[in-house]
Amino acid sequence: MSVSIFVVDDEPDVADLFRQRFRREMREGKYVLHFALSAAEALEKLQGEIEPHLIVMLSDINMPGMDGLSLLQEIKKLRPDLPVMMVTAYDDAERRQKAKAYGAVDFLTKPVDFDFLKAQLSQLPSISSA
């Protein structure tokens, strides 16, 4: 029973990083990772079906074109129930506050503490329910 995690970041290496970090979970079939390099691509992919079940979106804030916070708002319009975590290098109160207001479930600072992230993921309701 695997679930999908969707990571949006303009850095392509983020994909490799996540894949390597989650290689065991992926090998075990626990998570399927999806990546988008921009908000636009993310939204496009979200229009379509994402298999298996998408349980969380991780989005960078600083991105060319639409930024992470705007994407968050868009996602909330499309999939209000989908948990979104903001991942950013800019740790300031304002962003934190905005992210929370727009409905982000978490606010992670780069560099990402994967152990912490994995713990958070395991707390997500859809997983627990799954």
């Binding site: 850095e11 290496d13 490799d16 970090r21 600083n62 290098a89 300031d92 780069k110 560099p111 990402v112």
Partner: protein
């Protein structure tokens, strides 16, 4: 004689004698004659003259003789020498000619005609005949030698040697004959080549070598004197023959000798004077003569040394000199004899004349020379005789004159004695008259004399001398008139001298029995009488009378003497009169000048002037006392007294100002303005105080008037009835006039002083105002002090009014008790009726004549009573200080006595008052301006501080933004590096695990290799991770820097915060370096109150600074060699609303260039990896921007570094907005 007459006719010579035309001296009386001097002079002159003449004649003669004999001698010698030379020359010519002739024979034959043999024989024959020819050769017409015959060599025939170019051939062909140069054979024999051409064309040339020994023989044979010699010189000046053959052999060239040059020049046809005296080849001086040896062109010289030539001449000169000397001796002896014969009679004449001149007229001069000198002596003798006669006559005349002179001298002595008396005792007529009478009596042989003065037709005797007592008594009884018949009567009528030979014989005595005449005869026993009138400008003023008791008329001379005495008496009388007038005038002038001096020496003071005037006036006017009264309006005050009785002075003093007694002197003067003069005041009806108390009788009152206004009067009194003279009145009047001037001067001076005083005071006050702007106290003090001084007041107050309440601000001269009262006095409203109240009401100056006489004082108003009783205030002055029509204060001036202030005094206080108002106003304005200026300055300073902070903060902020941007951009890739590194380590572990079974299967070598590779990879990844974390730290710091101000403010204890940071920092360093040790000194202000800060950020600052401090001391410790003790000291202080923190270390210090940049981001001095360069930059931001404080640094390289942080408690200015 001419030599002796140099002194001229009767000229006075310098030694005091008169010399006559004949050169003899006439001694003057009292001078003695020195005989040898005169004799010697004349005598020497004669001798010198004779000797000179003879010597000159002899000398001239001798010199001429010597000169001519010298010339002749020389000519004779030269002539002989020349003859010798010519003879020798002729000999040589002959010798050569002969040889030439002999050779001539050999050239007669033509070459074709004879044979060579023939020619040889001819030649041999020739050699035999002519011994001088040594060799003969014959050349044919072509110049080739055909034959040579010689004494010294073998004959040569037909050698055919070519001589066609030899000079002996060419010259011979050309000139028929050729003389070759002289040459020597065997070093001693002179030879010459002689070539002769034949007369025919083909005759050829015969050449002979001629021995010239012959010439030498000729030369040697010539004898001239002892050392004279002859020699021969060729045409070129070369010596050919000489007795000394060595000279010839040395080929001596004589061409430079002057005689040779002259001879050669003569031969060449030049006009040259033959040289007579020259130097020979040895350099001796010689007499020389030359002769040419014509065909050869040689010269023959004959020379004789000059000393030898002149030897006879010198002998002749010596003889002449001896003769001359003998002649001189003779001449000298003859001169002596002649001079002696001339001088002796002249001497005798002179001695005789001298004796005559000396007065010995009986003496006669005896000279029997029979010439002019004897005649002269006779003339002297005659002269002496005549002089003798005239002397006798003269002596008689002198006796007569002496007698006359004695008489005249006596009279003159008398006159001069009288004149002496006159001049010795000017004005003392008695002694003058006495002396006149005495002298007249003595010289005129009178028995007595009388001097009478004629005054208003009366005769008054003024001088008597030796007068019989009874007659004197009669005379002196009274001034009397004289009968016109009497002598004085006649004299009175005619003003002419009267002489009566015998008074007894006249009818006046016999018949009329005139009493005066009777008195004359019977009382005085007078007989002969002379009366001489004394006239002053034709006016009879008296008579001079002398008497004899015998009948013997006075001579004309005696009468003349009396007349002269009479006229001197007139002069003496006149002088005495003038003198007394002069004295009087002098006295008056002295008095006047004394008064003037007093006036000038005491300007402004009138009392000494009046005193001096009165003293002088009373003295000169012979008054008993005097008084000066001064007028004020209708009244008078007695201002000065001199000589007045004490009662009168006292009376006047007590009387003070008084109105003059009607009809009295002052009253009269006041009415008339004229001098009042009364001979007897006591005659008045009401006796004046002066009459009563001073016994005054006569008085003189003189007014002192200035421009028709009576200022006062000067009155002098006599205590007897005697009127004052006109001159005396005039003197007092002049004093009065001077008194007026003095009074006026005193008044002007007083005004001037007063005005000067006021101006000085005003200027002082103004000076104080200008020198202490804005300060009122010194101004008021100066004003009050000057006001008191000028107003002659003892106490003064300056009060200010605020809302109608008065309060003293400056006082002066306040008695202690009153000062105490004033000190307790609150600001007061002036009670109604007081001076201050009036002044406030009327807003003008109030002048209170007597404070003790006011109603308020009498009513017991406290303030009024205090001023009078405690402040001793009587006459008071209240001057308001007005501003905008309001009373803002007042000057209050008090006198301890009742004496009103003058208008001027009031005016000066009023002027002070207005100045005070201005000063107050100025001070107010100045203070306003100062406040405004201070405010503006402070605002400006604040603005500057803010501006500086803003600039710095702006700079830092922009840097911070930049930093933040960079940090973010770096952070992302760095994350990847870190993440992937960490991940790779995990992956490797996994790989090792996964590959473990496979690896185990491998052989040990391979396995080991794989293990090693994996270990190395793991190590590399760890290194990547480590460096990544380092970079991450930097980025984090940068981000924190840009973030700023995010922390919360809390009120904390700075001391605790520092303590904590210090420990943390210290252990941080210790963790890295176990050996590190440092002394930490804490100097905390224990009273420091907590302050509001952002604790995390401030801690960061402290950690930073401590870290730097530790780093600095460690660096220094590394460099030192043990003696260094690192210390970091922290001090906290509360300072003026701020907390100051000093962090001081004794580390390496900070160089100035580093200090400039140390607060900039990324600036670090630490090696790469040890510092981020952001610590101080962040600290700066935190302190200055976040906390509004300041951070500064002081440092000395290798000494210390001290950071000072100041944190304000109340933050204002720049807020942390980032």
């Amino acid at each position: 004689m001419s030599g002796a007459a140099d002194d001229g006719d009767h000229a006075r010579s310098t030694d005091g004698r008169v010399v006559n035309a004949h050169g003899t001296d006439i001694p003057l009386p009292g001078t003695t004659v020195t005989e040898p001097t005169v004799r010697g002079r004349l005598f020497r002159k004669y001798v010198a003259l004779f000797v000179g003449v003879v010597a000159a004649a002899l000398l001239a003669n001798g010199l001429f003789e010597i000169w001519f004999s010298y010339r002749e001698h020389e000519d004779a010698l030269i002539r002989i020498q020349r003859e010798q030379a010519q003879a020798a020359a002729a000999k040589i010519e002959q010798f050569v000619q002969e040889i030439q002739n002999q050779i001539g024979w050999t050239t007669q034959l033509p070459w074709s005609a004879g044979t060579l043999e023939q020619r040889r024989f001819d030649a041999l024959r020739l050699l035999r005949q002519v011994p001088a020819i040594t060799e003969l050769s014959q050349l044919d017409a072509t110049g080739h030698e055909q034959l040579r015959v010689s004494r010294l060599a073998m004959d040569v025939v037909g050698s055919n040697t070519d001589f066609s170019h030899d000079p002996k051939f060419t010259e011979a062909v050309a000139h028929k004959v050729y003389y070759g140069p002289v040459y020597f054979r065997r070093e001693s024999e002179p030879y010459m080549t002689l070539a002769l051409a034949g007369t025919r064309r083909d005759a050829g040339v015969s050449v002979a070598e001629v021995n010239l020994k012959f010439i030498w023989d000729v030369v040697s044979q010539i004898k001239v004197g002892d050392k004279g010699l002859a020699y021969v010189v060729d045409g070129g000046g070369r010596l050919i023959a000489h007795p000394d053959i060595s000279l010839v052999l040395r080929n001596t060239d004589l061409s430079r000798l002057s005689q040779v040059r002259a001879a050669r020049a003569g031969a060449a046809g030049e006009a040259a004077e033959p040289v007579r005296v020259a130097r020979d080849v040895q350099g001796r001086e010689v007499l020389t003569a030359a002769a040419p040896i014509s065909p050869l062109g040689w010269f023959m010289f004959v020379e004789l040394p000059i000393n030898e030539a002149y030897a006879p001449l010198y002998a002749s000169i010596e003889r002449s000199a001896a003769l001359l000397a003998a002649g001189l001796v003779l001449a000298f002896l003859a001169a002596l004899l002649l001079a002696r014969r001339m001088v002796v009679p002249i001497q005798a004449l002179r001695a005789g004349a001298a004796r005559l001149g000396g007065g010995d007229l009986g003496q006669r001069i005896a000279i029997k020379t029979g010439d002019e000198l004897e005649a002269l002596a006779n003339q002297f003798n005659d002269m002496a005789g005549r002089l003798e006669e005239s002397y006798a006559d003269l002596e008689k005349k002198v006796d007569d004159r002496t007698k006359e002179l004695t008489e005249s001298l006596e009279q003159q002595t008398a006159t001069s004695e009288v004149l002496g008396v006159i001049s010795r005792s000017p004005g003392d007529l008695d002694s003058v008259f006495n002396s006149m009478l005495q002298n007249a009596n003595r010289i005129c042989g009178a028995d007595f004399g009388v001097m009478v003065l004629y005054e208003n037709e009366f005769w008054r005797p003024v001088g008597l001398r030796s007068t019989p007592p009874k007659f004197a008594e009669w005379l002196l009884a009274e001034p009397r008139r004289w009968d016109p018949e009497t002598a004085l009567g006649r004299l009175e009528a005619t003003k002419q001298l009267v002489q009566i030979d015998d008074v007894k014989a006249e009818s006046l005595y016999h018949d009329r029995r005139d009493p005066s005449r009777v008195a004359f005869v019977e009382l005085a026993g007078a007989r002969t009488f002379v009366a001489v009138p004394m006239l002053k400008e034709d006016e009879l003023i008296g008579a001079f009378c002398i008497f004899r008791r015998e009948v013997r008329p006075f001579t004309g001379k005696q009468i003349a003497l009396v007349q002269s005495f009479a006229s001197q008496a007139v002069i003496a009388i006149e002088n005495a009169r003038l003198l007394s007038e002069l004295r009087e005038s002098l006295e008056r002038q002295t008095a006047t000048s004394e008064v003037l001096q007093v006036i000038s020496s005491s300007p402004g003071e009138l009392k000494p002037v009046f005193d001096a005037m009165l003293v002088n006036a009373t003295r000169i006017c012979e008054a008993a006392f005097g008084v000066v009264h001064l007028r004020t309006g209708d009244t008078f005050v007695s201002a000065a007294h001199i000589g007045a009785p004490a009662e009168l002075v006292e009376f006047h003093r007590r009387r003070g100002a008084f109105k003059p007694l009607p009809g009295g002197p002052l009253d009269t003067i006041l009415r008339t303005g004229k001098v009042f003069h009364s001979a007897d005041q006591a005659a008045d009806e009401t006796p004046s105080s002066e009459a009563r108390l001073g016994g005054a009788r006569a008085l003189l009152a003189v007014p002192m008037i200035k421009e028709n206004e009576l200022l006062g009067a000067m009155i002098i009194y006599r205590q007897e009835v005697r009127p004052f003279g006109d001159k005396q009145i005039a003197l007092v009047e002049s004093f009065a006039a001077q008194a007026v001037i003095a009074i006026e001067n005193a008044r002007l001076l007083g005004e001037l002083r007063e005005s000067l005083d006021q101006q000085t005071a005003t200027s002082e006050v103004l000076h104080v105002i200008s020198s202490s702007p804005g300060e009122l106290k010194p101004v008021f003090d100066a004003m009050l002090a000057n006001a008191l001084r000028l107003c002659e007041a003892h106490m003064g107050l300056m009060v200010v009014a605020e809302d109608g309440m008065f309060r003293p601000i400056t006082t002066r001269g306040v008695p202690p008790q009153f000062a105490e009262f004033l000190g307790r006095l609150p600001p007061f409203k002036p009670p109604p009726g007081t001076g201050t109240y009036q002044m406030m009401q009327e807003k003008k100056t109030i002048h209170v004549p007597d404070a003790a006489d006011m109603q308020t004082y009498r009513d017991g108003v406290v303030l009024a009573k205090a001023f009078v009783d405690l402040g001793r205030a009587r006459t008071s002055l209240f001057v308001p200080m007005m501003k905008d029509g309001e009373v803002v204060g007042a000057f209050q001036i008090y006198r301890p006595e009742v004496r009103p202030f003058t208008d001027k005094q009031i005016a000066i206080v009023e002027s002070f008052s207005s100045q005070a108002v201005i000063a107050i106003e100025n001070a107010r304005l100045l203070n306003e301006i100062r406040t405004a200026r201070d405010t503006a300055e402070k605002a400006l300073a604040d603005l500057r501080t803010a501006q500086a902070s803003l600039v710095q903060s702006e700079k830092m902020a922009s840097l911070g933004q930049l930093t933040a941007g960079i940090a973010h951009e770096i952070k992302n890739p760095l994350n990847f590096v870190n993440n992937f590194a960490k991940l790779s380590v995990e992956l490797l572990d996994e790989l090792k695990e996964t590959a473990a079974p496979g690896l185990a299967a491998l052989d040990p070598g391979k396995r080991e290799e794989v293990d090693e590779l994996v270990t190395m990879l793991t190590g590399n990844l760890d290194k990547i991770g480590e460096h990544g974390r380092r970079a991450d730290n930097i980025v984090k710091s940068m981000l924190a820097h840009s973030r700023g101000g995010s922390g919360d403010r809390q009120t904390v204890s700075i001391n605790a915060l520092i303590d904590e940071s210090l420990n943390l920092a210290y252990h941080g360093v210790r963790a890295q370096d176990k050996d590190f040790n440092v002394t930490l000194e804490r100097d905390f202000d224990s009273t420091l109150q907590p302050i509001e800060v952002v604790p995390q950020d401030i801690t960061r600052v402290f950690l930073n600074l401590f870290g730097n401090g530790f780093y600095a001391v460690r660096q220094r410790q590394k460099r030192s060699n043990g003696g260094y003790r690192p210390v970091v000291k922290v001090t906290t202080r509360e300072e003026d609303g701020r907390v100051a923190i000093h962090i001081r270390d004794n580390g390496i210090g900070i160089p100035p260039d580093v200090k400039k940049k140390m607060f900039e981001p990324f600036f670090t001095t630490k090696p790469t990896g040890e510092g981020t360069g952001l610590g101080l930059s962040i600290s700066y931001d935190i302190v200055t921007q976040q906390h509004g404080g300041s951070i500064s640094v002081d440092s000395q390289v290798d000494e210390f570094t001290e950071f000072t942080i100041q944190l304000p408690r109340n933050r204002h200015g720049v807020a942390a907005t980032t």
